[in-house]
Amino acid sequence: MKISYYPGCTLKYKARNLEKAALASLDVLGIDVEEMDRWNCCGAVYSLAADDLIHMVGPARNLIRAKEQGAGKIVTLCSMCYNTLARVNQLMKNDPEKRDTINRFMDDEIDYFGEVEVVHFLSLLKEEVGWDAIRAKVSHPLNNLKIASYYGCTLQRPEEVGIEPMGSFTLMNDLFEALGAEVVSFAGADKCCGSYQVICEEPGDNSAAAKVLNLAAENGAEMLASSCPLCEFNLGKQQEALLQKGAISNNVPTLYFTQLLAMALGVDSKEWCLELNDKITVDLLEAKNCLAAV
């Protein structure tokens, strides 16, 4: 079955480290995805207003492009893109009235009925490759690295599009174990990072992010892995401001789960795009001997 890859806006610019590490890893794992040549914003946030159909048009158009490409699946990396596309796909599949309105409005496109399946990269890894096969391909195991899996809000909510049930974090945990790392569980894995609240707050005032980072540190996590550029901004890029304001007492370096995958698979280090990560992340990886081999 043909798989379309939907990048998402941030991944082409600020979060190239999320994308490049992932695509290079797929090459090593022998999974073929076709990047969409025409795509637009995913919608960023799924609109909850019952009559706000205009904000469904953007995400629906992406799903139509995947259908046009002949794809059975569309895979995404960013949690928010996944969430918005998956929820609009549900609407197009299950709500005939709204679907017809949207299809009629988009008279420049083919009709869409939710035929394409929206999957997250983590699910794709499990279903198309499997943890044992990944373990077998690991050339540079992440020994001695204590990682906390961070899901944030949008990978599991609402239930009908969740990549796994609330309270369960096996996809990321199993992946990191397969990569040779030690997984640290903590109560902050599905707590909000503060989301867009940062726009109207002073730097360092994001108490939601502070809570997640403090919980991770208290549980002995050396590193926090996520799949969302907004989470990475709130938890990673804003960490220094949180530290300065005393909202957190310890640094917890952050990176994307795809970067860990690429490192363990021995992907060329320029595809890790570590220059986009914070210095504390690079320093920790250095100290843990993760950067030496490739």
């Binding site: 082409k12 610019y13 795509w39 637009n40």
Partner: protein
């Protein structure tokens, strides 16, 4: 202008900005600003309107489909669908309802290209309204040049300046995209900025072009230009007729003139 060939059966050819109705030509009804006019079929919208008595002081330019001065919105009676075209290129159809939109008051930001860099943030700062795009695609549907307008706005949001520059290459700045945008985005001005940033900061500079520009600045061709501009008409004509010319189908790089002193 009208040219008549009197030895042959009467054939009139309409050229320039005056439309002449050939004998026996059928006329069709069109509606300009709601008022009905009978105009000859086969004319372009622009010529049909001139035939009907309108005179274009603005809203007409090259008459060749490239200057972007004559964007037109029209609808055919009995159908809700709006259509978009250039008045100088689109042929009239019966019962066409026409509206000219020669100018659209879209926001155009001021910038000094030398103060920018190759980063997309500059575009985002000058045109934050691009993030109001909801991907409705009405801009693309309005484009008379078939540019995928929404796709280049998406590329700009993604920080992909080169992609935006390439997709928007055929834009003629007519402004019809903006006239349809619910996000009030000035797509064509944003695209122009993307192309300028691409050319100034991203696209590799051609070494030979830079070198030639320096030669020109240093005065290499000044004498030649002075000679030509002071030459009398007969000598100039003679020079023109005797000029060496690259054959039309010559393979690139295979032809050189006999006289190489100006190369």
């Amino acid at each position: 202008m009208c040219e008549t060939n009197s030895t042959q059966p009467e054939i009139k050819v309409a050229t320039g900005d005056r439309a002449i109705l050939p004998e026996g030509a059928k006329t069709i009804p069109i509606f300009v600003m709601g008022k009905k006019y009978e105009v000859p079929e086969t004319l372009t919208i622009m010529k049909a309107m001139e035939f009907a008595g309108f005179k274009f002081l603005r809203g007409a330019g090259c008459r060749g489909g490239i200057c972007g001065a004559c964007p037109t919105v029209y609808r055919l009676a009995g159908d809700y669908k709006l259509h978009f075209g250039l008045a100088c290129q689109t042929v009239v159809e019966p019962n066409m309802y026409l509206a000219q939109i020669p100018f659209f008051p879209a926001n155009r930001a001021s910038f000094n290209i030398e103060e920018l860099n190759g980063a997309a943030e500059a575009i985002h700062a000058l045109y934050p309204e691009v993030f109001r795009c909801v991907a409705c695609n009405l801009c693309t549907k309005a484009c008379p040049m078939d540019v995928k307008v929404m796709d280049y706005i998406s590329a700009i949001k993604q920080g992909q300046i080169e992609k935006a520059a390439r997709i928007s290459f055929d834009c003629i700045q007519c402004g019809l995209c903006s006239s349809r945008c619910m996000g009030e985005i000035p797509q064509y001005h944003v695209a122009q900025l993307a192309r300028r940033i691409f050319a100034r900061y991203i696209q590799p500079q051609a070494e030979h072009l830079k070198q030639r520009a320096e030669e020109i600045s240093a005065g290499k061709y000044d004498q030649m230009l002075d000679d030509l501009s002071t030459m009398d008409k007969d000598n100039l004509e003679q020079l023109y007729v005797a000029r060496e010319r690259e054959p039309d189908m010559a393979e690139p790089g295979t032809w050189q003139p006999q006289d190489t002193k100006h190369l």
